[in-house]
Symmetry: C2
Subunit: 394 residues, 2 copies
């Protein structure tokens, strides 16, 4: 027994306590909480078998009262002198695994700047935003089976692509491989089929927040996506950060979303006194070089609105479901969360410090997305990172 | 011990032997095979715990050699005098449950007639088929968490809809609630991330076939679907039949797909000697009245092409994944598998024998889809049914 050491200024102090799944060298996967640069084995520390399995799902399904109780116990334990040392592992010595078994994965399109930019690039000359965009958070289902944890290499996808000047499509490796810097929301408590989850019920259903890189093959996507939406252009891999920051750690990050230009139907009309905008500062690095700083606070639609919309037709959610925000892009050029926006469809290559330039990703490139949020007393809440390196096509 | 009784002419004879999950009165769910009008409890009959759980997934994951072996053993057992009576249950006395735990659910759009009809109805005046349609099987991800077994009531969804003449969207119950008569394919053997499943590997990965009703709210769909595809218009419920007919039972149903108008890229160029068109005769009944007879043999894209396309970018599949064909519509008016086609967008109401008419579904309506396929020696292979009744919106 002893006190846990937390480096001064750590973004993983007691105000954060994000949950993940880890495996010590040679040991089976289990749930843990990150504190400073260590991981606390929850099944060992709390003597509770709900944390002994390879995903957080059983704990998530226990619901918000239980989440509060465990957070309270962990705060007390980790503040005191009786932290069981056998339950602490140095972060550097463990493997971090996919923290949840994901049921359905939904991706939204909630940044006005991103949707406008993509509209201009994919449909030049047309109105950038579709008529529905300011009336509902546009979203679609993605592939849950190819969601991978940060660090998993991403093989360049192959498939059909057809440039406007081509007569017929050709087959081969994607030439326009891109990232999308996003924020993900992990459902804890499920809902019943036929029963919408209202705006006010958000925190009772959503457990926490992670970072998402929704890798995108723009050439595959542009050819396939009409009329049923993106499919193979997105389904080859979606990377998530290993730590789920609980909503309870984000109380100081809650901000009002941007003003809404159109009146909202009642099921989407959020309460200004209970805002679910989030002041998360994202950073995107390409081979270590900062290429974008997307501000999540600029997102037009909040996660509470996404959940209310996703279930308004009676669709149910399950513990472990993941929904993501869509690319986070702010109004300024350096705030754009995808390469297709940063390079404006390839027209304006990015210059990297090593003298090379990029429009889209090259084999061997590594992309890392990080984020922090304000916490209490000037502390920062860290999200860790979601990273991935591009392997050549097979 | 005794002989199993199979009614003469049963579509569930020894040539079929479809798999499902059932619960006897008061008993837990378990895997079974339908034979005649009875269900054989597989864990009891074969003394194998892989069948004792509430889904077929553990058995599906064992792969095609094992599927063959079990089919062989069942054929021998059920042909002989030593069928254990304690393992047989009358079908009428058991509950039929969702047979698989579904990972990802993908819906295709593989009928040329359906895609052309929907194109004309959703985009009047434009070319009905998009330029990509004959180059690849268009598909998108649906919501796996709201796939329900036949018999589950379907609550009329609510949501946003905006007719072209309206200035702004309104909220309320769908006024254009529809069906889609489809055929579903259940993945048995998973694949590795990054590794496409080629056309010739279809039968090594896909275990069997079921019926699907992909309920659709056309008014929600029409307003939401640009640019990222259908979402709430489809996600409230998708019904599946309880019996998975193994591919091995469909050898006599294999037919050549229709001639292809455009040359196909090699990964989609199927071998005429190994055709995966299927001669399934679907029937759609509304309140007991036959309203459509869609012929699956007219589908432009085969399930082998769907799987090859779905994985060509390296996306993996998992045991229990479901992919469906999209609405089956033949060239003749009475062969259309959705009400929006049968009523031509509501212009031509259907007359029912009770004197009522229908454009879209009314509360209390019940829709049942059935199908049969040719088997050996003139036998028919039955799929059973997928049925559902509409409950009023909450």
């Amino acid at each position: 027994m002893g006190r846990v050491e937390i480096p001064a200024g750590s973004a993983f102090g007691l105000a954060n306590l994000p949950y993940g799944v880890f495996a010590p060298a040679g040991g089976p996967p289990r749930a843990g909480v990150r504190v400073g640069d260590q991981v606390l084995d929850l099944a060992a520390a709390l003597e509770d078998p709900v944390f002994a399995g390879p995903s957080l799902n059983p704990f998530l399904a226990q619901g918000p009262d239980r989440w509060r109780e465990v957070r309270q116990r962990l705060t007390e334990l980790l503040s005191g002198p009786d932290v069981p040392e056998r339950a602490l592992y140095p972060l550097a010595g463990v493997s971090l695994l996919l923290p949840v078994e994901i049921g359905d994965y939904v991706d939204f399109y909630a940044s006005e700047q991103h949707a406008s930019n993509i509209g201009q690039l994919f449909r030049p000359g047309a109105e950038p935003l579709m008529p529905n965009w300011k009336h509902l958070p546009v979203g679609y289902h993605g592939r849950s089976g190819t969601v991978v944890v940060s660090g998993t290499p991403v093989t360049r996808p192959q498939g059909q692509r057809k440039a406007p000047a081509d007569d017929v499509p050709s087959y081969g490796p994607s030439r326009r491989l891109d990232i999308e810097a996003e924020v993900g929301f992990v459902v804890g408590t499920g809902s019943a089929l036929g029963q919408p989850v209202g705006l006010g019920e958000f925190a009772g259903h959503v457990f926490g927040v992670c970072l998402v890189n929704d890798w995108s093959a723009r050439d595959l996507q542009a050819w396939e996506y009409v009329p049923l939406g993106p499919f193979l252009g997105k389904s080859f891999a979606t990377s998530v950060s290993p730590w789920i920051v609980p909503l309870a750690a984000l109380e100081y990050a809650r901000v009002a979303p941007p003003p809404r230009d159109k009146p909202l139907l009642p099921y989407l009309a959020d309460d200004p006194a209970q805002p679910w905008g989030l002041d998360l500062a994202l950073e995107v690095r390409l081979n270590g070089h900062l290429v974008a700083s997307p501000p999540y606070a600029t997102m037009y639609w909040t996660a509470a609105q996404m959940l209310a919309h996703m279930t308004v037709n009676g669709a149910s959610v399950r513990p472990g479901d993941l929904f993501a925000s869509g690319t986070v892009s702010g109004p300024r050029a350096e705030q754009r969360g995808s390469l297709i926006e940063l390079s404006w469809g390839g027209r304006d290559p990015l210059a990297l410090p090593d003298g090379s330039t990029r429009t889209f990703l090259e084999d061997g490139d590594e992309v890392t997305i990080t984020a922090t949020a304000p916490g209490p007393d000037g502390a920062r809440i860290g999200f860790g990172e979601v990273t991935g390196r591009i392997l050549p096509a097979r």
